[in-house]
């Protein structure tokens, strides 16, 4: 199978039923998306396929027909994506394990809604679990990212 991940074409020799997450992690060595639950219940594995955030732990790699973007490909030319920059400035992460997924979902939210309200944030981020309780800072960082993007 040939996938385009973070702008690069890669060949994946795997069972088409293998979830995209494991194809990325174990076969392509792309380790940004994390394994948390395997049933699309925590969001740690979130990547974009064709611009849509998806839980890669349940998406069969054989069904992927569009470009894949992972957290590893978010920064461009050595510059952090505004969402990553906002995460850094708000000092969001604690253990950090869920944050790749949180950031990928936040990027998708801001792609659709440039200036999200608290309700928009609640509606978008509920599938991304954080056991450290970084939610107040995630909320602040999404708003900061919105202004960073607006100012960019």
């Amino acid at each position: 199978m040939r996938l385009t991940v973070n702008g690069k074409a890669i060949d994946i020799d795997a069972d088409p039923e293998m979830p995209l997450l494991w194809a990325l992690r174990d076969i392509a060595g792309i380790l940004g998306p994390k394994f948390g639950c395997g049933i699309a219940a925590c969001g740690a594995c979130t990547v974009h396929v064709g611009g849509v955030p998806v839980r890669s732990c349940v998406l069969p790699v054989g069904d992927v027909e569009d470009n894949v973007l992972t957290i590893d490909g978010l920064a461009q030319d050595g510059r952090l994506h505004p969402v990553q920059q906002a995460w850094l400035e708000e000092q969001v992460a604690q253990c950090g394990y869920c944050q790749a997924g949180q950031i990928m979902t936040a990027v998708a939210l801001l792609d659709e809604i440039s200036d999200p309200t608290d309700e928009d944030i609640d509606n978008a981020m509920g599938g991304n679990l954080c056991r450290c309780g970084t939610y107040p800072r995630i909320r602040a960082a999404i708003k900061r990212a919105a202004s960073l993007k607006a100012g960019a």
Partner: protein, 199 residues
């Protein structure tokens, strides 16, 4: 990935299309008492399908699909703050659309998300969850609340629609709706022939 290609625009068309479909006249012939009794029997079969969690959990009034099954003490609101969508699309909100987790096919892992190409919440006017047999029956016969369909078309929709068909093929660990699409289609036809009586 075809599921991901389903756009909000096409979902919106479904809803609009429902609104402009022609209303159908009720069955002109008054049914006999025997027909009514037979019809009510058929309706019970149909109701058992429509009120089954595989169907009713996504035909909700309050914008929240439901979860149910042996791992939950009672039927509960779908986790993660999943909603119909502020745009009314039935496909969720920005950042958390149905197709973030629900793909073209059922996940093979226990408790993994079920899937179908057309996965989305039923339009808001088609409320089955928490409704009585009588209420659902009245609703099925009301084109304003059944997607603008004649009862024949309702039967056909049940017979042919992929997402409706999912109810009988819901993936591992989920109890399917009773019977089959074919049996339910036939039951609706018999019910209509008997005058489509409501309880």
């Amino acid at each position: 990935m075809k599921a991901l290609a389903v756009t909000l625009a096409s979902a919106a068309l479904v809803v609009v299309g429902a609104g402009i479909a022609p209303a159908q006249d009720a069955n002109p012939e008054p049914p006999s008492a025997a027909d009514t009794a037979k019809g009510l029997q058929e309706w019970e079969r149909i109701y058992a399908v429509f009120s089954h969690p595989r169907c009713a959990n996504c035909h909700v009034e309050d914008d929240h699909p439901r979860w149910s099954g042996p791992e939950f003490a009672t039927t509960r609101v779908h986790g993660f703050n999943v909603q119909r969508g502020l745009d009314g699309s039935g496909m969720g909100n920005a950042g958390l659309r149905c197709n973030t987790c629900h793909f073209e096919t059922n996940s093979s892992v226990p408790h993994g998300p079920p899937g179908n190409e057309k996965w989305q919440l039923a339009p808001v006017e088609m409320v089955w969850f928490g409704k009585s047999s009588e209420q659902i029956c009245a609703q099925i016969k009301d084109p304003q609340r059944n997607g603008g369909r004649s009862l024949e078309k309702v039967a056909k929709h049940v017979h042919e629609d992929e997402l409706v068909g999912w109810g009988w093929d819901p993936g591992p660990g989920r109890e399917p709706a009773p019977g089959s699409a074919e049996e339910t289609f036939l039951a609706i036809q018999r019910w209509v022939a008997a005058g489509a009586p409501c309880p």
